[in-house]
C-alpha cells in the first residue's frame, strides 16, 4: 500500500502532517506501538529536515506485510559531507531555524537510530534522497 505526501520548504507549521497521518495508518494495521513510535520519529525528523533545509520535497511510503519503506526526496542545497551530517549535534541550520526549536543537529542520527536501514544519497545544490526501511518484526 502506498501513500504520498508533498512538503514545502520553510513551512514549519505543517511539519508533522505526514508523520501524524502515517501514524494513524500504522495503528490501524496493528503495528506494535513502540515500533510505530520509531517510524513516526524517523519520518518526523525527515519532514523537519525538508522544511528546515530544502525548497520542497516529497515523501513516498510503501507498506508491505513485513516492512515499511520511506522514500524522502528533496530539492535543496544537498549535503556536502554525509558522514559529518550523521554525527550527533552537527547542524547547518540557521539561527532563525534554531530559535524555533529545530536544527539541534540530531536529525539524521535520530533517523538512523530509528530505522533498520538508511540510505542517503545527495548532490550539492540539487537535493537529497533518503530511503528508510523499518521491518515490522
Amino acid at each position: 500500500m502506498e501513500y504520498d505526501y508533498e512538503i514545502q520548504g520553510g513551512d514549519f507549521s505543517s511539519a508533522g502532517f505526514a508523520s501524524s497521518h502515517l501514524k494513524k495508518i500504522l495503528k490501524q494495521i496493528g503495528i506494535e506501538p513502540k515500533l510505530i513510535k520509531r517510524i513516526v520519529i524517523a519520518l518526523y525528523e525527515a519532514e523537519v529536515n525538508i522544511v528546515a533545509h530544502a525548497y520542497e520535497g516529497r515523501i513516498h511510503v510503501e507498506i508491505e506485510p513485513g516492512q515499511i519503506r520511506l522514500e524522502i526526496q528533496d530539492r535543496g542545497p544537498g549535503i556536502e559531507d554525509i558522514e559529518q551530517a550523521m554525527e550527533d549535534g552537527y547542524s547547518t541550520a540557521s539561527e532563525e531555524v534554531r530559535e524555533m526549536g529545530f536544527g539541534a543537529g540530531m536529525g539524521l542520527s535520530n533517523i538512523k537510530n530509528n530505522s533498520d536501514d538508511l540510505e542517503i544519497t545527495s548532490t550539492v545544490n540539487e537535493g537529497t534522497e533518503l530511503t528508510i526501511i523499518k521491518k515490522f518484526k
Binding site: M1, Q28, I29, G30, I41, I63, E64
Partner: protein, 456 residues
Amino acid sequence: MIMSAQAFHHALKIQEDICIGCAHCMNVCPTGALRVVNGKARLLAERCVDCGECYRACPVSAITVEQDDFRRVFDFGHSVLLVPELLFGQFPEDVDKTLIMDALRQVGFSEVVEVEHAASLLKESTHDYLEQSEQERPLISAFCPAVVRLIQVKFPALVDHIILQKPPLDITALYYRRKLEDQGYDPGDIGIFYVTQCAAKIAAIKSPVGESQSYIDGVINMDYIYNKVYSTIKNQKNSFNEPKQKAPEALCPEGVLWSLTHGEADQVEGRCLAIDGIHNVIEFLEKVENEEMSGVDFLELRACDESCAGGILNPANRFLTVERLRNKAREQEKLEREGRRPQSGIQHYRGYLTENLALQPVVPRSIMKLDEDMTRALNKMRRVKDLMNTLPGVDCGVCGAPSCSALAEDIVNNKGSLRDCIFIQRKYEQKKIQRPDESYDIMRRIWGDNKLLGNQ
C-alpha cells in the same frame, strides 16, 4: 473488528425510549464510539472512555449517568462520604461549608471527608516519583480516568508514560478505612461512598485500571447529592437559622485546588504543563507521540474544560466554581501562614499509604486496529483507502457513522455498507443499480420509521 474478551464498564447509558436519534452525540464523540441504528444512538463499548461529551451534547437528556441506589448507605453501620472539595463550590457563597457538611450527615452519612486530604501526600510522592522513575518523559498523571482510558484506546504507545500512583480518591479511601479499623470498627460495617462529578470516575470505580479492586462501596452523583443537600438546608432555614461557629479546616490549600486546572502541575517541580478539555488533550498527545517536543517532565491532562469544575454532573457554572475554590484556597493559605491550620489526620498514615500507593502498569487496548492479523489488517487498510476515494468526504453522518472514514472502517469490518452513504445511493439510482425504494429502506434501517414517516 475483533472485540476484546474483557468487558468494559460504562457509567454512561443511552435511554432508548428517550433517544430521538439526532446524532448530536455521535458527532461530538472524541473516540468515534457512537453510531445511529434504527433511529437510536448506539454505544460501542470498547471505544468509549466515559468522557461525557455525548452527555453534554444530547438535547433531550437521553444519555444518563448510572449511580448506586442511595439506600445502600444504610446497609452499613458506619458510612463515610468522600467528597471532592468541588461539591462546596457548587453552592452560592451564602451556603456555608459547615451547613453542607451538617446536611450530608443528616441525610445519612456518619462522617464526611474531603477527598483531597491525599493531596499533600501525593505532592511529595510525585516529587520522588519524578526523581526516581526511569519511565520515558513526559510523565502523565493518572488523575483523570477518562484520560487514562483515552491513552489506552487511542495512544497505546503512551501507556508507559502514565505515573503509576493511585489518584487522591483511592488514597483517601484507603486512609479512612484503615483509620476506622484502627478505631475498632468492624471492617464489614464500614461503607465508603464517593460523590462524583463525572461518569469516568464511576467507570474507574466499577472497573478499575491498574488496580485489582476498588476501595469504594458506592457512588453518588453530584447533581443528586446537591439536590438532597440543598433541600435539607432550605428546610432547616425555615425552622432555625443560627450561624455556627466555624472551626479552622485541615485541608491544605493545594488540596482545595487539586482537581482544578494546574492543581497538580503547579505542585510538581520541573517543566510541567496542564491541559484541559478532551480535544486539547488529544491534540497534545498526538504531539507527545510524535516526540515533537522535548524537555517536558510532567503532564496534567484533564478531559473536561476547567478540569473537574467542568464535570458533567456539576450543577453550578464551572467558572463560578473555580472562583469559589480559589477563594477557599486563599483562606486556607491564610490559616497556614498564621499557623492555625490543623494537621490533616492523613499524616498519621503516611507510611502505610506510601506503601500502598503504586498502581499496576496500564495495558494498552487499541481501538484503532482493523484486524488482529497484520496481513488482513493491511488488506483492510487498502480497502479503506479505496473506499475513501469513493466516499464523498463530507462527514455528514447520514450513514449513521460519524465520518466517511468511520463508515469505511465499519464497511471493511462488515459493520456497514457502502450503500449506507446517501451520495452512493444517489449515484446507484442514477446508474440504475439501486431503486429509490431500496434507498428509502436503507435510510429507514438507519434512522428509524419516525424520521422518515414523520407527520406528512
